[in-house]
């Protein structure tokens, strides 16, 4: 009985992971593009990117989910609840990832760009071979934090009828009248997922760390 219980909730894990695996890379791609436009794109492009970030971070994720699924989907494009939900969360995350990345790009410093241009690299080459490899290293720790947030926010797709971990816990809580067990199981699964993600990214950060002079 208890294992059935746990298994039923754990089936939502696939959805949670699926949503995260769409939202996070999508948010990274958009966020990276925007961060580059923000840092290197001319005044108006930079302002537009900043405005996008402000808007996306200012709107509750659920509102965006509803706009994309109930209003835009079916008119502009046809999206299943899963894709509408995942892409909405990706859009929200893109704003946060943009902030992380533009901070990291700025932290690399203007000098690296100057030095790269001075040997004849184009701007794009300089960004690709000199700025980004350093910025991404700096961005891993805050990005790890964003990854856990997206993982946890993935429960929001239930608003569109995609049943993931949290929803399954709600259902079981209602049917069995054992909220402690139901939500406890959900919490345990979320914790395990976040824990594993953070550990993986920590080890990535460790492996890509640049050596410094031994003190």
């Amino acid at each position: 009985m208890l294992t059935d219980f746990f298994l039923y909730i754990a089936q939502g894990t696939a959805v949670t992971i699926g949503v995260t695996l769409v939202a996070l890379p999508f948010g990274l791609a958009v966020g990276l593009l925007l961060a580059l436009l923000y840092n290197y794109g001319g005044r108006w492009v930079s302002r537009a990117a900043g405005l996008y970030s402000l808007l996306m971070r200012g709107v509750p994720p659920v509102v965006l989910l509803f706009i994309l699924y109930f209003i835009l989907s079916g008119r502009l494009i046809n999206l299943s609840p899963f894709w509408a939900g995942s892409l909405s969360l990706g859009l929200v995350s893109s704003a946060y990832q943009m902030e992380i990345l533009r901070g990291a790009l700025a932290a690399v410093g203007a000098g690296q760009m100057t030095a790269a241009r001075a040997i004849g690299l184009t701007r794009l080459q300089a960004i690709r071979f000199v700025i980004l490899p350093q910025a991404i290293r700096l961005a891993i720790p805050p990005w790890s934090n964003e990854a856990s947030i997206v993982l946890k926010d993935s429960s929001l797709v239930y608003a569109l009828g995609v049943p993931e971990i949290l929803r399954r816990a709600q259902q079981l809580s209602a049917t069995t009248g054992q909220p402690f067990l139901a939500f406890g199981a959900a919490a345990l699964i979320y914790f395990a997922l976040v824990f594993l993600t953070n550990r993986a990214l920590d080890s990535l950060a460790e492996r890509t760390k640049l050596p410094t002079q031994p003190v």
Partner: protein
Amino acid sequence: MDSALILQARNLTKRYGANIIFQDISLDVQKGETIVIIGPSGTGKSTLLRCLNLLTHVDSGQIFLEGEEITAPGINEDRVRQQIGMVFQNFLLFNHLTALDNVMLGLTKVRKLPKPQAHEKAMHELARVGLADRAGHYPGQLSGGQQQRVAIARALAMDPKVMLFDEPTSALDPELIGEVLGVMAQLARENMTMLVVTHEMGFAREVADRIVFMEKGHIVEQGAPDDLFERPQHARTREFLWKITELYGKKEKK
């Protein structure tokens, strides 16, 4: 030394907003010549160097490299920068790359050399600055003097026609200055054309073919080291030379 004109600046003016950094500066550089630019800080020396390799743009005036106007519209600026090497006060090595990869990057990405050739060339340049044994080290694992020598090798790898040095030893501990100046003196002996902004008067005296004294956006005076150091024409030059020896004298006593 043949006296072909390699770099020519004509009536350069640079403003930042309402601030005029320098005005109507003209300078002819002969092939193989080593020019040392001295002057108080804030005078526009760095800005002048950055204008010469198009890292920033002059507001008016022309610059010619081997007779070709590089300030002309439509010029390929990346190609120009490739031909004018630059060494910065704070080294600016690419922190995520080893010494070897720092030198190789321009070779593989700009000059598009195949990897083995780029590797060979990069090792040659590192050997030139005495750092072949540090090829696998990251900037963070090198001393300031070593980092600056890698930076010089990185610039040399592009086979530049002119090398610009912007206070290459100002950020170094005194005991590390010598190794960098040594490399630069060696380059001068090999007839590299060099423009060096520095406060190292010993180096200026021994290595320079010509000293240019700049102040407040103007070239006040220029000439052979002996003339300029022994018989400065302007009161300003005398004053500056006196101050700089005073300053460096004090530094050495510490």
